[in-house]
Amino acid sequence: MINKIVQSLAEAVAGIKDGSTVLIGGFGSVGQPDALIEALIEQGAKDLTCVANNAGSGRTGLARLMELGRVRKIICSFPRSSGSVVFEELYKAGKIELEIVPQGTLAERLRAAGAGIPAFYTATAQGTLLARGKEEREFDGRLYILERALRADVALIEAWEADRWGNLTYRASGRNFNPVMAMAADLTIAQVQHIRELGEIDPERVITPGVYVQRVVRVDRGSPWV
């Protein structure tokens, strides 16, 4: 019997190695795997490259992981969100590397990694600072730049429902980066609000097939999130 459901957060993040590239889902506070990030803090892996839309805020979660000196590099589209104080401090002190990627290019680089596309061309960022060092090429009279797939060792994501095969649904804007990150990592770990019996989730409503998911852990966020 396939059963990807694990019983504890410690079990969910077990085995994440130093030096890993870790994808962290979510946009704003929505669909952000808070409990898994806390578990990763406990777990101890260091020298991480973290990929997320933002560079953390406040002093918890991803910001805490950075503050502890466990993040070597961050790849994101929007490091300067309100309250990204830890990142700003570390960055000014030269203690963290930054790669800024346009949000859509970030999503597409992850999708490409999951889809076996090593590289693709996009008009996004062509002619800007973020195109520096990138190959430029013309197709049908327009200039594009070459972007590479962004593959990872681990993805920490949040979903709404899961079954024991790892099929996932999301809720509203909680999808965001989670489904593409699930495709792009060797080890995808999902924090979910609800566990359903196999077959209970409408097959037409599954957004991430269990094929992409290795571990599922239930984390009840409580009101008003349920």
Partner: protein
């Protein structure tokens, strides 16, 4: 009298026809949606995968799972739906967004847009989805104050700040008026705010303002 912020948003909103798919940037452009009546069906799209956003919910009816790109609570209209980030930007990059309205630091008379970084040495500028929207939307409009807080013009011959997108802006809405960006010509006055003269608008601009005549 120059337009107020609300009047600027209303002025831009008036130009959006029914049926368009529209992405509104964070900040001032977001307010445009408040000036499009629900019965004029405009489909507001947000980078985080919300298609068909409705008005903000009353405080007691906020769904914490439903926010826009500015991280504010929103609602979904009947007919709205959700997609993931790669599908959302496929829609943006693929030219399926009829209109995107962004804020800007500077707009150049060739349509260049600078709105993400204030210098090449900016330690960690935040680009978000601006470059994707600038390159991908069918039409790009800018909504902004005509000058900076300290009075520096934002309509310029060429941008001094790092670019977001090249030759992308088609129209600019400011507190002083509405200006088209016409290839080969530059800024052309569509209309001026009530009581604002061409001379006043020109004095507040570094680039030449043309009249359509």
């Amino acid at each position: 009298m120059p337009y107020s912020r609300s009047e600027m948003a209303a002025r831009a909103a008036a130009d959006i026809p029914e049926g368009w798919v529209v992405n509104l940037g964070i900040g001032m452009p977001t307010a445009i949606a408040d000036h499009v009546p629900l019965e004029r069906e405009v489909i507001f799209q947000s980078e985080n995968g919300v298609i068909g956003m409705g008005p903000a919910p009353p405080p007691d009816r906020v769904d914490p799972w439903l926010i826009n790109a500015g991280k504010q609570p929103v609602t979904l209209r009947p007919g709205g739906c959700y997609v993931h980030h790669a599908d959302s930007f496929a829609m943006i990059r693929g030219g399926h967004i009829d209109l995107c309205v962004l804020g800007a630091f500077e707009v150049a008379e060739n349509g260049d847009l600078a709105n993400w970084a204030t210098s090449e040495n900016d330690t960690a500028p935040a680009v978000g989805g601006a470059m994707d929207l600038g390159a991908g939307a069918k039409r790009l409009w800018v909504l902004m104050e005509h000058t900076t807080k300290d009075g520096r013009p934002k309509l310029v011959p060429s941008c001094s700040y790092p670019l977001t997108a090249l030759r992308a802006v088609r129209r600019v809405y400011t507190n002083l008026g509405v200006f088209d960006v016409v290839p080969g010509r530059g800024f052309v006055v569509v209309e001026l705010a009530p009581g604002v003269s061409l001379e006043q608008a020109q004095a507040a601009s570094a680039a030449r303002l043309h009249t359509s005549a």
